[in-house]
Symmetry: C2
Subunit: 424 residues, 2 copies
Amino acid sequence: MKKVGVAILGLGVVGGGTYRILTEHREFYQTTQSLDINVECVLEQNEERLKELGVPEELVAHNIAEVACNPDVNIVVECIGGVSVARDYVLDVLYGGKTVVTSNKELIAKYYHELERTAKRHSAGLYFEASCVGGVPIIRTLLDGVQSNKIVSMMGIINGTTNFILTKMTEEGTSYAEALQEAQKLGYAEADPDADVEGFDAAYKLSVLSSLAFHTKIPYTKVLREGITGITPEDISHGKALGYRLKLLAISKQSEEGIEVRVHPAFVKKDHPLASVSGSYNAVFLTGDSLGDLMLYGKGAGDLPTGSAVVSDILYAASRTEPRYSTFKNNANPEKEIKFVSDFASSYYMRLSVNDRTGVLSKIAAIFGKNNISILELLQTPDAEGATLVLVTHETHEAAIKNAVAKLNASDIAKVEAVLRVVS
Amino acid sequence: MKKVGVAILGLGVVGGGTYRILTEHREFYQTTQSLDINVECVLEQNEERLKELGVPEELVAHNIAEVACNPDVNIVVECIGGVSVARDYVLDVLYGGKTVVTSNKELIAKYYHELERTAKRHSAGLYFEASCVGGVPIIRTLLDGVQSNKIVSMMGIINGTTNFILTKMTEEGTSYAEALQEAQKLGYAEADPDADVEGFDAAYKLSVLSSLAFHTKIPYTKVLREGITGITPEDISHGKALGYRLKLLAISKQSEEGIEVRVHPAFVKKDHPLASVSGSYNAVFLTGDSLGDLMLYGKGAGDLPTGSAVVSDILYAASRTEPRYSTFKNNANPEKEIKFVSDFASSYYMRLSVNDRTGVLSKIAAIFGKNNISILELLQTPDAEGATLVLVTHETHEAAIKNAVAKLNASDIAKVEAVLRVVS
């Protein structure tokens, strides 16, 4: 039976989950995969954590050199997170020809180019299923399951924290601040929640997944990114009344015009498969030219779900005689080589406060008309100072909406209180 | 660039889709996979079909020997269907050391044992993603995406024809006969619909998928199989009122008691991810010990979706230096080696006609009580001859329900009109 030695760098949530799965399933993998996967060493200084996981003292390495030079280690799992130490350690290990499995989305989004070049030069593998959407094998699917397709578009709920917050706001009508507090209490959100609620986490993942889907490097800096901090229960509730659910969506599309990549809150119809992805669940909805629609749905985070992705990568790497590299080109200068679409097409939801005077609606309609925007649904309700107008447009373009909003706000008839994109 | 020659046996729906994808995407695979996949020959006698697909005359082989002996053919795609000719041809090809990709679920369910043995002996690959759930890469996921998990259970909507019929009955209240006729008119059901509506097709697929999930041969003959021909709009509508949707489910579970495999109609709660899988869509809902829940959702049939699975197998096979075999044991005698659970646990829906007399309900309750069955929900409505009683039980066992039904039918107080399982 093939023996494979594994080292784990960092025994936090994911590293700890990986350690537990590997030690508890060793016999299972011998029987079902004909692989003897053994944890040879770990790099972790937190003694309490080592005790909690029951790691034998002799497995604890003291520095990265001990790991990189250990001839019994074939595969190194990086679960340190961040990009400074993690990048150095991963490069050290790759130089020695050892295969790396990482759960670090920021590392892959920022340094994939360099890491894969190093890996190839030293015939080492580089796998990162766990970096995107936890237990959901979306990367394996893109590389080995739907690689026969030209991917047309991808739409995902790929951040559990924001999905938990938006689900709570939708189901219980709570404010953003209350929902965030609850998420923090339950450990779904960090004390500093910006990476999640401002969409950085989703943008890193979208960069990685779109690069794989479109076979070309999509820099995370090119992702249009808007978070959920400005979302009000009022807009969620108006959307609900119109048959929509609000989600933080990561969207990428490829067409003759170019590539568009964006992370922002958006309404989806309540019978769309993504609408019922609630709480800490994640999902990716792909469209391929041959297979049509495909959705993968599962746990986007957590020690065991993400550990499951790490271990599947280990087993995959161990079962191959040569590494499997991803299929995206290492474009030297993607920002110049690729055309990124910023004036993309979408439908829009808009909430306006209007003066309740004769002729106001026709003036508003005129501004929309001048921008070639036609209205699909409209709901007017009186309020203390006039009226609230909620509307959804037919498909139009980003620039047209921005123009119409500026014109409306410059007029004395209406104030645009909220604009949200709608997946049509 | 690696050159790979492909032969396609049978240019029906899936074979034709495969031919189209391969010819239209040749350059795309050169760029993205560094593979030059060329259709070297096809085996198909229908000249009209050959013309329709635009197959050049020189590609048409006249017999299987021409294919098996063609040194330029590395991978043979079997899309003939059935098990007599297809089995012979696949064996012929494997003997010559050529890799086989097949979309034939019946062939794999019945002869996997023999085919894999032959493939291994001749160092040939054997891939069958397209045999189960069309464009959904469920087999790749089981083998390479979630192989780190002990699969606890699997629950799928894996037959498009029956899902179309049940969706139509649910949404429009039509009878089974009308819905079947509509499915036949639209080409979703065969003139002889038994393979689909009696659950054979789903049972073959469940046998293949469970074998992969549980790493042990699950003979299709061990699948409890009940079709949808007896389903009435009345029960669908009662279930709907109680918050359930009726689906033909393929279920398999593994526990300390053994393995259970079954295909039958069942109610699922309307907010379960499987409930909204409508029409010709398919989905598989997996639970793994580490990853938790995972659902894959997509097109279960059709020329391009299933062709997409065939071509993904071709690309996967071509990218490897050695074949990837499945991880289920070739048990010599699975029926004796495995414990199959027949008295499984489930909740149940029941519809009874009852005499509208004092004390009837307490007598019925007594029969349930004697069988340790407790009732979760109950709905009584008067009708011409007495009353209709609709109920859903808490989780109980198959044997207890059968016993209670026999007792009720033997009494003079009630007649059991329908019993359906409920996923709890």
